[in-house]
């Protein structure tokens, strides 16, 4: 499975905790929906223990949907193909005081 099954359980418990519900309301003005983590934990266990294909498909579908949701915005900038060339350029003598 994409994650260890215990990870789904811990995410579910964390999602339902008071602290998280409080912060979710503070950020979005709504209550978080945690059921999906529970369903994923169930499917993960079924996949691991009994190798059920429906469980596997359901879990993969759920994770793919999660990834989609994270991309739900139009970027303001263009992504780079390579890191900036001057990231590792040594500093000038004037700006570097020690050594």
């Amino acid at each position: 499975p994409p994650r260890a099954c215990e990870d789904y359980l811990s995410e579910f418990r964390h999602c339902k905790s008071f602290r998280n519900r409080f912060h979710h309301y503070y950020t979005y003005g709504t209550a978080p929906s945690c059921q999906q983590w529970k369903a994923d934990y169930h499917n993960c266990s079924e996949w691991e223990r009994h190798k059920l294909t429906e469980a596997k498909d359901a879990l993969q579908k759920s994770e793919r949907r999660r990834l989609e949701e994270q991309k739900n915005f139009t970027p303001v900038w263009k992504l780079r193909q390579a890191p900036p060339g001057d990231w590792h350029r040594p500093l000038d003598q004037e700006t570097q005081q020690d050594s």
Partner: protein
């Protein structure tokens, strides 16, 4: 003359030690119990223990921008109440040793500035000429670093609950822009409003808005397991 004007236009006057014309003389005394030492100690602790920082450092390494403490961080004295900055021209994060006195604050500033560095590393961010890019990175940094957590806002006497986080992010983004660029408040507000929806929802590399260390630890765990994750989709 031209140099000073450019300094002010890009906020460099807040960081006087970056001025190449008057390099500060280091004395023996500076080697002992100084703000600089405290700053460097807190920085190291943040890099080693804060899940926010560890995740960002890991993500930057994977993007080809491995961060070296001595090259990419600089503890300096700064003007006013500013806590830090990211200098794209020299690829350095500036930490204001005279304004950061607590570890929690250092953790937050390091996270905030690393988000700018991360954006610089993974995207063509035009820091100097494109205000939308600047606003976007500031929105992301305020959103994801814990700047706008309930407890931080509360301690600033900004009491608010429902969706207050978003209000805080907008406000801090505007303030950050005003601190380093010469624009009017209305203009800064307008730019922030334009890019807010896009940038508020860009949670890279966390994958979520980390509301505290526990969230950040979960995000870090997720990030470290991403190879297995993508292999099993």
């Amino acid at each position: 003359m031209g140099q000073t004007k450019q300094d002010e236009e890009y906020g460099y006057d807040l960081f006087p030690e970056r001025n190449a014309r008057n390099p500060k003389q280091i004395t023996i005394r500076d080697g002992l119990f100084t703000f600089r030492n405290k700053c460097q100690g807190m920085l190291r602790f943040a890099m080693e223990t804060s899940p926010y920082a560890k995740l960002l450092l890991s993500a930057m390494k994977n993007s080809g921008c491995k961060v070296f403490k001595d090259r990419h961080f600089s503890c300096e004295d700064c003007d006013g109440t500013v806590s830090g900055g990211f200098d794209a021209a020299s690829s350095q994060i500036v930490l204001c040793q005279n304004n950061i006195h607590q570890q929690a604050h250092m953790n937050r500033v390091v996270t905030h500035e690393l988000i700018h560095a991360f954006d610089h590393c993974r995207a063509h961010v035009d820091w100097f000429n494109n205000f939308r890019h600047l606003a976007c990175s500031e929105i992301r940094a305020a959103n994801l670093s814990g700047d706008c957590s309930f407890s931080n806002e509360f301690s600033r006497f900004n009491f608010g609950l429902k969706e207050h986080h978003q209000q805080c992010v907008r406000g801090r983004a505007v303030r950050s822009i005003l601190a380093v660029r010469k624009v009017s408040r209305e203009e800064a507000q307008k730019i922030v409003d334009e890019v807010f929806d896009s940038c508020f929802n860009d949670h890279a590399p966390f994958g979520r808005i980390p509301h505290g260390n526990k969230d950040a630890k979960f995000a870090y765990r997720e990030y470290m397991n991403r190879d297995r994750y993508y292999a099993n989709l």
